[in-house]
C-alpha cells in the first residue's frame, strides 16, 4: 500500500482515479488543484504524486517543479493529461523521471506504473525513472539530477 496524492480539478476524473487506486489497496489523498496539493504534500509526504496538467491556481507542471527534489514525494510522479502536446511534456519531464500518460488513460497502466515505482528501494526525494514504453516497462532506474 502506498500513499498517493491525486491532483485533478475535474471531480469525475478525480473520483475515478481515487476509486481505482483505493481498490488497489492504496491510500488516496484528493486535491482539486495544485495549490491544495502542494499544501497537503508539504504537511505529509506521499509515495507517489499523480497530477493533471491544466488546473486552476497552480498547474501540474508548476506543482511538479515545486515538489521535485524536496523529498516530499518519495517514489515518483505520474502526470495525466489530455493536452495535444503531451508528448513534449513527457520529453520535458523525462529527465526528472516523470511519467506522462495521455488521457483517456489505461487504468491498469496507471496502477502498474505506481507498482513499479514503489517496488524498488530508492532514495527518498527523487522521482523514479522508468525506461521504455509502458508495455515493456519493468525496469526502473534512478534518475539523475536535472
Amino acid at each position: 500500500m502506498s500513499r498517493i496524492l491525486v491532483a485533478e480539478d475535474d471531480p469525475h476524473i478525480l473520483r475515478l482515479i481515487s476509486m481505482w487506486l483505493t481498490r488497489h489497496g492504496h491510500e488516496v489523498i484528493e486535491a482539486r488543484n495544485g495549490l491544495v496539493a502542494r499544501e497537503l504534500i508539504s504537511t505529509q509526504p506521499v509515495d507517489v504524486l499523480v497530477s493533471d496538467v491544466n488546473m486552476p491556481g497552480m498547474d501540474g507542471l508548476n506543482l511538479v517543479e515545486t515538489v521535485y527534489g524536496t523529498g516530499q514525494v518519495r517514489h515518483g510522479v505520474i502526470v495525466l493529461t489530455n493536452r495535444w502536446d503531451h508528448g513534449e511534456i513527457g520529453e520535458r519531464l523525462a529527465d526528472w523521471g516523470v511519467q506522462v500518460i495521455a488521457k483517456p488513460f489505461s487504468p491498469s497502466r496507471l496502477s502498474e506504473l505506481i507498482e513499479s515505482m514503489t517496488a524498488g528501494t530508492r532514495r527518498a526525494g527523487r522521482p523514479a525513472h522508468s525506461a521504455g514504453t509502458p508495455d515493456q516497462q519493468s525496469t526502473s532506474q534512478e534518475a539523475g539530477a536535472p
Binding site: R23, F105, P107, S108, D135, S138
Partner: protein
C-alpha cells in the same frame, strides 16, 4: 425506495427516531409508536406496552384501549378530537403519516412529569411527533437516496474505467499490429489482446484444417466484478503458445460444444456466445486470404459474468480489423513469393540459352548476398543486391545463341555484341520502376576499377558497390565452371587469378571480402555447399584422385 424489505437501514433509523422522540427520564413522560404499517409489525408506545399490553406488542386488540386498537387498524375516527385522553388518563394523539412512502399511524402517549404538568404542547406544530417524524423521514430518505447515488456513481465509474481500459487496449493493438510482418506474430498479438479485452482465461484459434492454437491468459487473482487486473501485457501470457499447442493437436483441446461453436461461426461468419456447462464462451470469425475462416474462441471464468452484446461487438470489430491485417500480410507474402518465382523462371530461361552457364545466375545471386552480408549490407538493400546478382545476365537473352555458345575464339565484332548484354539487361528491366539497385548491378557488372570495363568505363568508387560485388562473384563462377575453350579452374586457382587482377580489373576490398566469406561458408555449411556447388565438390574429389 419502498419499505418492502424488512430491516433495512431505514427501519433501524425509524426505530432510533422513535426512541429519540420519546422523552424518557425517571418516569417516561412521552412515548411514540408506529402502527398500521403495511410492512412492519406494530410498535406501540412504551407507555401502552407498560400500562396496558403486558409488554407484548402483539397484544393490541386483546389488551389495551379502543383508541390504540383503532389506531393499529388504521381506523382513526375523524370525530375524535386530538389530543384526547385514554382510559389510563394519558393524553394521546394519533395521526396519519407517510413514512418511507408507506401510510402509517403515529401514536403518541404523554404522561405527567414529576412536577405534575403535561410536558409537551401537542398544538405547537414543532412538538408534534407525527410532523417531526415525517420531516426526519424525509431527511432519512435523502440520506438513503445519496447512498444510492453513490452506488450508481461507483457503477458508472467502474464502467468508465473498463471502457478506458478497452480503449487503450485497442489503441495499443492498432499501434503494435503494424510492427509485425509475419502472420503468426499478428495472430498472437490479436489473441492476447482479445483475452485482455474480454477478460478471458484462454483464447483458441482454430484453422480450417482443424489445427488449434491455444493462448492462455495468466491466471489473475481477485476475479469478481473487478475490471481487468493490472499486469504487463508481455508478462501476462505464456510465451510459446503457437508452436507448442499446434503440436498438441488437431482440435484435441476443444470440447464438443466448442467444436460446434467453431462450425457454426464458420458457417454464419457471425460472433456467437454460448454457455456449455457453465463455462462462458464467445467465438468469432477471423477472415484470412481466399475466404478462409479461422475461428477465435475465448473462454471466460463464470465469475466474470456472461459475455454481453458489447463483448460481441468488440470481438467482431477487433477480429475484422485483425483479419484485414492478416489477409494483407498473407497477400504481401504471396506476391513476394510469386515475383521471386517469376524471376527465378526468367533467370533459368537465360541460363538455358548457354548450357555452360547452367545455374550460374542462381549461384551469382547467392554469392552476391554472401559477400554483401560480409561487407555489412543489411536488408532491404541486401535483398535487392541478391536480386541484382540473380538478374545480372538477363541481357544475354538478346544475344544470338550461336555467339553465346560459340566454341573457340570470338571475332572482335562478336565480342562487341557480347559486350552489349549489360545495356540490354538494363533496358529490359528499366521499365520495372521498383528495381533501383538492381539496375545498377545489371548495367555496371562489367566495369573495372581501372576504367577499362564496359559499358561506361567507370573508375573505382564510381562503380556502385552492388556491381563491384557481382563482378567478383561472376568472375569466380566463370572461372570455376568449364567453357567450350577451357577446363574449369579449381577454387584455389580461381582465387589466385582474382587476386592477380585486384586493383586493375577487380575491386580489392570486395574481392577479399568475398574470399573470406566464401571460405567461412564452405567450412561452416558443408552440406549446403555440396548442394549448391556440386561441380566444385566433384572437381575437388577428382583432383584428390590424381
Amino acid at each position: 425506495m419502498s419499505s418492502d424489505i424488512p430491516s433495512t437501514p431505514h427501519d433501524s433509523l425509524l426505530r432510533d427516531l422513535l426512541s429519540g422522540l420519546s422523552l424518557t427520564g425517571p418516569e417516561p413522560t412521552r412515548s411514540v409508536g408506529l402502527l398500521a404499517s403495511p410492512h412492519h409489525a406494530p410498535q406501540p408506545p412504551a407507555h401502552c406496552l407498560q400500562a396496558c399490553l403486558d409488554g407484548d406488542p402483539n397484544a393490541i386488540g386483546r389488551l389495551g384501549c379502543q383508541l390504540l386498537a383503532a389506531a393499529a387498524a388504521g381506523n382513526l375516527d375523524p370525530q375524535t378530537p386530538m389530543p384526547t385522553r385514554c382510559p389510563k388518563g394519558f393524553q394521546v394523539a394519533a395521526r396519519h403519516a407517510l413514512i418511507g412512502n408507506s401510510p402509517m399511524v403515529v401514536f403518541t402517549v404523554q404522561g405527567k412529569n414529576a412536577a405534575g404538568s403535561e410536558s409537551v404542547d401537542f398544538d405547537r406544530p414543532e412538538m408534534d411527533p407525527a410532523r417531526l417524524l415525517a420531516h426526519l423521514d424525509a431527511a432519512s430518505n435523502l440520506v438513503q437516496r445519496i447512498g444510492q447515488l453513490l452506488e450508481e456513481n461507483a457503477g458508472f465509474a467502474n464502467e468508465v474505467l473498463q471502457n478506458y481500459e478497452q480503449l487503450n487496449l485497442i489503441f495499443d493493438l492498432t499501434q503494435q499490429i503494424t510492427q509485425f510482418t509475419h502472420v503468426a506474430g499478428i495472430e498472437r498479438l490479436l489473441a492476447q489482446r482479445v483475452a485482455r479485452l474480454l477478460s478471458a482465461e484462454t483464447v483458441y484459434v482454430v484453422s480450417l484444417d482443424g489445427r488449434c492454437r491455444v493462448y492462455p491468459a495468466r491466471k489473475t487473482e481477485g476475479a469478481g466484478a473487478q475490471p481487468v487486473k493490472p499486469a504487463s501485457a508481455i508478462g501476462q501470457f505464456g510465451d510459446a503458445p503457437a508452436e507448442d499447442l499446434a503440436r498438441a493437436g488437431s482440435g484435441a483441446a476443444l470440447s464438443d460444444e466448442m467444436r460446434s461453436a467453431v462450425e457454426s461461426v464458420r458457417r454464419t461468419r457471425r460472433v456467437l456466445v454460448a454457455m456449455p456447462d457453465g463455462r462462458h464462451l464467445i467465438a468469432g470469425p477471423l477472415m484470412r486470404l481466399d475466404e478462409k475462416v479461422d475461428v477465435v474462441l475465448a473462454v471466460r471464468h463464470p465469475d466474470r459474468g456472461v459475455f454481453n452484446a458489447g463483448d460481441m461487438m468488440l470481438l467482431e470489430s477487433v477480429l475484422s480489423f485483425g483479419g484485414q491485417i492478416i489477409s494483407n500480410t498473407e497477400l504481401h507474402d504471396r506476391m513476394r513469393r510469386m515475383s521471386l518465382e517469376v524471376t527465378r523462371a526468367l533467370v533459368a530461361a537465360i541460363d538455358k540459352k548457354d548450357h555452360y552457364t547452367s545455374g550460374h545466375s542462381e549461384r551469382a545471386g547467392f554469392l552476391t548476398a554472401l559477400t554483401a552480408v560480409h561487407l555489412g549490407v543489411r536488408p532491404p538493400q541486401l535483398q535487392a543486391m541478391e536480386w541484382a546478382g540473380l538478374l545480372h545476365d538477363v541481357g544475354k537473352i538478346g544475344i544470338p545463341e550461336e555467339i553465346l555458345c560459340k566454341p573457340g575464339k570470338l571475332t572482335p565484332e562478336e565480342f562487341e555484341l557480347i559486350k552489349q548484354h549489360p545495356r540490354m539487361g538494363y533496358e529490359i528491366l528499366q521499365p520495372i520502376k521498383s528495381l533501383g539497385v538492381i539496375l545498377d548491378g545489371v548495367l555496371y557488372h562489367h566495369e573495372y576499377p581501372d576504367g577499362s570495363g564496359y559499358p561506361e568505363g567507370l573508375v573505382g568508387e564510381q562503380i556502385p558497390l552492388v556491381a563491384r560485388i557481382i563482378h567478383v562473384v561472376d568472375s569466380f563462377d566463370a572461372l570455376t565452371t568449364s567453357r567450350s575453350y577451357r577446363e574449369a579452374f579449381s577454387i584455389e586457382e580461381a582465387i589466385q587469378i582474382i587476386r592477380r587482377e585486384e586493383g586493375t580489373h577487380i575491386d580489392a576490398e570486395v574481392a577479399e571480402a568475398f574470399i573470406e566469406a566464401f571460405d567461412v561458408y564452405r567450412r561452416d555449411h558443408p552440406h549446403d555447399f555440396a548442394l549448391r556447388f556440386a561441380h566444385l565438390v566433384e572437381r575437388e574429389m577428382a583432383d584428390a584422385h590424381v
